[in-house]
Symmetry: C2
Subunit: 227 residues, 2 copies
């Protein structure tokens, strides 16, 4: 059986990732940028949510985004509509971002000093769990259309995240979403986890989320203009 | 860099999987059972779809299902409502089923002679791509809520599948689903791929899908009773 060797090699890769992630975190702290990453299943609405957040933050905050995908630059193009600096990381066949990919993406692409850098991971509820990207906070998104038991079925990714965001609230009635059950399942896996419920389409819940985000950074003395 | 070693070890694992899958396929053929697997992102509606299909087929056909998940036996419990024999495969941290898992699950769980065996893979649009399970046909599901560009972003899984099923058609209007774009994106990745559009909730499109399935097996001379 070659399984033990596979496990051993993977451990080395993960260890190297932790070293790189630690260096990134140090660098982000020195630069005074708050880094938030987003993980979720494909189609949970990460990009729509991020587009809304980038747009809403921009009048006052300096923001940028890195976005990972196996293929295509579609998400970067969508996010570019927010007029924030956006860079795509195409991972090929790799189902998660790694700290070294973030490091490489930042080389030669250093937007002006930032308040927030968002990292949208590859859509996957398994692979990204083990890879620290040096972020300050990791958001795990699940949409109301996915079923309330996702946290129980993918406990590792919920454990690796700091805050949960339930998306597509505008579809909650159509899919008979059971909010109480969803919250209970999240709490069963990660007791005390903070949960937001939002609709990127109608804007419901977005203000609460923005308040949480902006509380994480020092108040800006010289807000940038809305241009 | 340990990457080349990782790739090499993974190749060996995949090769062993192909050998096991080939043996399974031979066995299924000898047993006269048509095996269909389902892959999709988490929350695309595999279990709801399968519950409907198992229920609709049963009056006339002998059916059973294997269902993979990282954790919980929720899906097996949901599928058991169809009264078909169902067995859960809990994969732990592994984000896909492997042929050996199917082989082990069949040991000591041999339902009466079957016409159809369904295998619901772990919800993941990346990991299951490379693992042949000995199935006769692989269905890739995507729901209307996930965005029309999923095939472009996850081309490998669409390439590994034989037939696409667009699910949650009842939500198409609410999410402004663009069917033409979705079909075009599937065809761009896998020209000629057959596509079904269904709603497990309303039953729309289910009859067409059932007709396709039942055409794959010889007409039953002695249909089982509806009990």
């Amino acid at each position: 059986m070659s399984e033990p060797r596979l496990v051993e090699v993977r451990k080395n890769v993960l260890k190297q990732n932790d070293i790189t992630a630690r260096a990134l975190r140090e660098r982000f702290r020195n630069d005074g940028v708050f880094v938030a990453s987003l993980v979720s299943s494909p189609g949970s609405g990460k990009t729509a949510f991020l587009e809304r957040i980038l747009t809403e933050l921009q009048p006052e905050y300096r923001v940028a985004a890195l976005v990972g995908d196996l293929a295509t630059e579609n998400d970067a193009m969508r996010l570019a509509r927010s007029h924030a600096p956006v860079k795509q990381i195409v991972t090929g066949t790799i189902c998660h971002l790694e700290a070294a990919m973030v490091e490489r993406a930042l080389e030669g692409w250093q937007p002006a000093p930032l308040d927030f850098l968002f990292i949208e991971n590859v859509g996957n509820l398994v692979c990204p769990s083990s890879y620290d990207l040096g972020e300050s906070v990791r958001f795990v998104l699940m949409s109301v259309t996915e079923g309330e038991d996702k946290p129980l079925k993918y406990p590792t990714i919920f454990n690796s995240a700091d805050v949960a965001v339930i998306t597509k609230l505008d579809l909650a009635a159509a899919v008979e979403f059971n909010s109480v059950a969803a919250h209970a399942n999240i709490q069963a896996v990660r007791p005390g986890m903070k949960i937001f419920e939002v609709s990127s389409k109608t804007g419901e819940g977005i203000k609460d989320f923005l308040r949480f985000l902006t509380e994480q950074v020092p108040a800006r003395k010289n807000p940038v203009s809305a241009n």
